[in-house]
């Protein structure tokens, strides 16, 4: 294959360089990437810190949700116990599921990505370190406040999937449900921020030469994981918004008596909810694949097939959401499609399992701590997968639905597919960040207790479910044959808890965190780049990658990297920086100047959390003030970015020069913006789906929309807004003020178009509170209004930068990204205006 960027691969032969490096080069790196002191631990953005904070917080939520699980098992140990009152039990099971899924599982794997990826890819840091810090603080503050709701009896109690009408205002009048809707909706924003960081990081900051076929399998897993978040999470963001609007304003999206449909929630929830299972599983599978190879001392068997399997899982998992809805009375043919896809998704999962088994079979495995946990993981996950195929069959699902069989199945999948791999990863990678490895002796006890406890707890639940025990009951009657399986399950749950407790003891005894001050090293003999000698700036120099396990294939690599004989052995500009490479072949493209520590991401996170939490408790004045401060904090943090440095090109090693400022589709900022627009686009697409779904299922409540011809001025204005945005990019060559004027005009044109569109609908007499159609139409307009408001804000921001002479010519990233957003805003408005008038037009 030809070069992707024009870079000559023969230049790689200049490495490792010969001769000594200049005096003080490494000291300067240490100075630039120095340790924080005192309050600076709150403003730190380096992945070595943020990753650890993130992982520690996620693990804390695992422990908290685990305690809730033990409370439930204590309550169910015998019939008719009253340890937890019924209402409290409802809150406890809702919080257990919600915290495990939203506050532990997704953040834990995202945290692992933040911590491990820069090391694994030999980047200095992820490309948007302040975004990582914002994502973490938003999650930590929001999550802890959300969890605290259980101490005051205000925790949500409608189950982790919050089905209306149970969660509608009529049946859940308190603010418990609002805590879930606003709290979780907000935490999803944090997950999406992390996903954008990971996609751009994996695709653009790999070490030179690390083409896609040489990428560590964990990086592949994280890439698929992050793309899945971008596609799946918008659906639940929209769902939570719509349900909150229904509760707050009475717009009947899910109220069947007014032309809404509660099944719409189930579609929106599970379009996110089932891929969520794979979102959790894939990074864990990526970790497992990395560890299996090291444990077996053998390259992973079927790397190419595993990559395909991960990507295929990512795709097919979006075709299985309605298998959670087999009992809702969907048409038989549609049910059949989802059943078939649910069985098909086991194919790529099976490919991965067979590859792990084959790697262990052809290698010489050592059953050390990570080895034990991966074996346990494979056994448990396969068992959960098999019961998954069982419930993919519609007649069986009808029998097992909402019974303890499902509880058993999902815990086998999630514990085998995520928790055990995560513990394997703890044992495997803790020597990378701690001065001491964890104890192998204690690990055997931890594994034994957890493996036995898990099976003792959940195996009998299959039986209890088949005997007819429904999920989510706080007690059961004696004499139904449920006493023994429940007692055994409770004993198993406490054994599992004891295993986790022993793990905490091991952590207390041996985990000694000291970023940048030495570590236990490569105790298991891994072959990938995270085991290179590293400090807070990651590796001293960035190696040229020639294989998938470079440390196995080139034993001298570690010494050469530490001696600065590869790319970027010092700082080229005196600032934090990393090499941005091309997405396929990882050819060096430019030097990214990275932002350093700042208090603004922290402030933005606090105020964002304040906005959502204040909305929940209906403190609207405080909420809006927090929202404004959050926006100011974000703009202030951005203000320091997108600035050129004096040197236009710099030497990044061996005489190879790259630019220090790049704009357009090559820049990492452009990539991040495009991904953000995909998120916004997915929210919009799901809103269009909602409109079409309600029309299809509630035609009796549908009024004929106004003719499309009446919206010709609206469509014309949106078209003009799009062209003005494009012209704004071109005008920057001439004068920044002209560019800013055109961008402002584009935003204004979209705003006027939206106003006319809104007036067009109000003239028809359509009211949002009256019917599902009205609610969905005005929800589309509200989404368009959000995009327009952001467009206006960005245009004003660019105007301010231009006034301070911060807009570079002939191209500038801030202008480019604003153009992208304004172009999107116009397109979304145009499509929304047309779609709303076409749905139901022939009725």
């Amino acid at each position: 294959m030809r070069s992707e960027t024009g870079f000559d691969p023969a230049l790689y032969d200049r490495f490792p360089t010969k001769g000594p490096r200049p005096e003080g080069e490494e000291e300067e790196l240490r100075r630039i990437w120095c340790k924080p002191k005192g309050w600076e631990y709150l403003t730190v953005v380096n992945n070595n810190y943020v990753g650890i904070y993130y992982l520690g917080t996620a693990f804390l939520f695992f422990l908290l949700a685990g305690v809730l699980a033990l409370l439930m098992r204590a309550q169910l140990a015998a019939p008719m116990l009253e340890i937890l009152p019924q209402g409290t039990y409802n809150q406890v099971f809702t919080m257990h599921g919600t915290v495990m899924m939203f506050l532990f599982a997704v953040p834990a794997v995202e945290a692992a990505g933040v911590l491990l990826l820069p090391q694994m890819l030999a980047a200095r840091d992820l490309p948007f370190p302040r975004l990582s810090a914002y994502a973490f603080w938003a999650y930590a503050v929001g999550g802890l406040c959300f969890f605290a709701s259980i101490f005051v009896g205000l925790a949500p109690d409608g189950g982790w999937f919050m089905y209306p009408p149970l969660t509608s205002k009529a049946y859940s009048p308190g603010i418990n449900t609002d805590f879930w809707l606003l709290g979780i909706g907000f935490i999803e924003i944090s997950a999406i921020a992390g996903a954008i960081e990971i996609i751009v990081g994996v695709l653009r900051t790999r070490a030179p030469g690390m083409s896609l076929d040489k990428m560590p399998i964990f990086a592949w897993a994280m890439l698929v994981f992050a793309v899945m978040i971008v596609i799946a999470f918008p659906s639940i963001i929209l769902g939570t918004l719509l349900l909150e609007i229904e509760r707050a304003l009475g717009w009947p999206f899910f109220d069947a008596t007014r032309g809404g449909d509660p099944l719409l929630w189930q579609h929106l929830f599970w379009f996110f909810g089932h891929p969520e299972v794979y979102i959790i599983f894939l990074p864990a599978a990526g970790m497992l694949s990395m560890i299996v190879a090291t444990v077996a001392r053998e390259a992973l068997v079927g790397y190419r097939l595993i990559v395909l399997a991960m990507v295929a899982t990512g795709f097919i998992s979006f075709g299985v959401w309605a298998h959670h809805m087999f009992t809702t009375g969907m048409p038989p043919m549609t049910t059949g499609f989802f059943s078939a896809a649910s069985m098909a998704v086991s194919l790529p999962a099976g490919i991965q399992v067979f590859s792990w088994i084959a790697t262990l079979a052809v290698g010489t495995p050592r059953f050390n701590a990570p080895g034990l946990f991966i074996l346990g993981s494979i056994v448990i996950f396969v068992a959960g997968g098999l019961t998954g195929v069982m419930v993919a069959m519609v007649p069986f699902d009808w029998q097992a639905h909402d019974s303890y069989f499902i509880v058993a199945h999902l815990h086998y999948v999630l514990i085998g597919g995520m928790v055990f791999p995560l513990f394997a990863a703890f044992y495997y990678w803790i020597p990378m960040v701690s001065r001491r490895a964890l104890s192998e002796r204690l690990a055997k006890w931890v594994f034994g207790l957890m493996f036995a406890g898990m099976n003792i707890a959940f195996l009998p639940m299959h039986l209890a479910g088949l005997q007819g025990m429904p999920r989510r009951v706080y007690t059961y009657l004696p004499g139904q044959g449920l006493e023994l399986p429940n007692l055994i399950s409770t004993i198993g749950a406490f054994m599992l808890g004891a295993g986790v407790l022993l793990f905490l003891v091991d952590l207390a005894r041996n985990f000694r965190l000291a970023p940048g001050e030495g570590n236990a090293g490569n105790v298991y003999g891994g072959g990938t780049l995270e085991w290179l000698p590293s400090e807070l700036y990651s590796t001293r120099s960035i190696p040229v990658v020639k294989s998938r396990e470079p440390l196995w294939d080139d034993p001298a690599l570690g010494d050469d990297v530490a001696a600065g004989r590869y790319f970027l052995p010092g700082s080229a500009t005196g600032l934090r920086e990393t090499i941005v490479t091309s997405p396929l072949l990882a050819e060096p493209q430019y030097l990214q100047i990275m932002p350093g520590p700042s208090g603004w991401p922290f402030a933005a996170a606090i105020f964002t959390a304040g906005f959502f939490l204040a909305l929940t408790v209906q403190a609207y004045g405080f909420a809006w003030a927090s929202g404004v401060f959050a926006i100011i904090a974000v703009l202030r943090w951005l203000w320091e970015t997108d600035r050129r440095v004096e040197a236009e090109r710099v030497d990044i090693g061996a005489g190879i020069e790259v630019p220090t400022y790049v704009t357009g589709p090559s820049s990492h900022g452009w990539w991040a913006m495009v991904i953000l627009l995909v998120v916004m686009g997915m929210i919009f697409v799901m809103a269009l789906f909602s409109l079409a779904f309600l029309w299809s299922n509630q035609p009796a409540f549908w009024m004929t929309p106004p003719p499309l011809g009446e919206a010709s001025v609206v469509l014309l204005l949106y078209g003009v807004a799009f062209l003005l945005a494009l012209a704004g990019r071109g005008a920057l060559r001439w004068r920044p003020s002209a560019s800013v004027a055109l961008l402002s005009a584009s935003a204004a044109a979209s705003a006027v178009a939206l106003w006319l569109d809104y007036r067009g609908w109000t003239h028809t007499g359509l009211v949002p509170q009256a019917t599902g159609q009205g609610a969905a139409i005005y929800a589309l307009q509200a989404l368009a209004a959000c995009a327009v408001a952001i467009g206006l804000l960005m245009a004003a921001y660019c105007a301010l930068r231009a006034a301070r002479a911060l807009v570079s010519q002939p191209r500038n990233n801030s202008i480019d990204l604003t153009v992208l957003l304004l172009g999107y805003t116009a397109t979304q408005g145009l499509v929304g205006a047309i779609f709303g008038r076409l749905i139901g037009a022939g009725a």
């Binding site: 294959m1 083409s211 896609l212 076929d213 190419r304 097939l305 990559v307 395909l308 990507v311 295929a312 795709f315 097919i316 979006f318 075709g319 048409p331 038989p332 043919m333 549609t334 049910t335 059949g336 499609f337 059943s339 078939a340 896809a341 069985m343 098909a344 194919l347 790529p348 396929l584 072949l585 079409a692 779904f693 299809s696």
Partner: protein, 94 residues
């Protein structure tokens, strides 16, 4: 973009086919016309898989990334074809 399209061709076709089938089932019911539409969509999708497979098979691929890309694309097309065929069966047998 071309490389991504080659790598993901089989799965992209699967996705288009699946959502088309869901759209037919959700909005057009499950009568005879809907089942014929499912059949036509399936024949079209499998034809597209075969055409792209033939095209990829004829592409020159030196060792290294290009060869790896061709291998992943080929297996992706096979997996996509199996999944497409499998998920269309309910239109015939249900």
């Amino acid at each position: 973009m071309k490389s991504w399209l080659i790598l993901l061709a089989g799965l992209l076709i699967w996705a288009a086919h699946f959502f088309l089938l869901y759209g037919i089932g959700e909005f057009a019911g499950d009568g005879r016309a809907a089942r014929i539409a499912v059949g036509l969509a399936t024949i079209g999708a499998l034809g597209l898989v075969a055409a792209i497979g033939w095209r990829i098979g004829r592409m020159y691929a030196a060792a290294g990334f290009a060869s790896w890309r061709r291998g992943v694309a080929f297996f992706g097309l096979v997996l996509g074809a199996v999944a497409i065929l499998w998920q269309s069966l309910p239109a015939i047998i249900v």
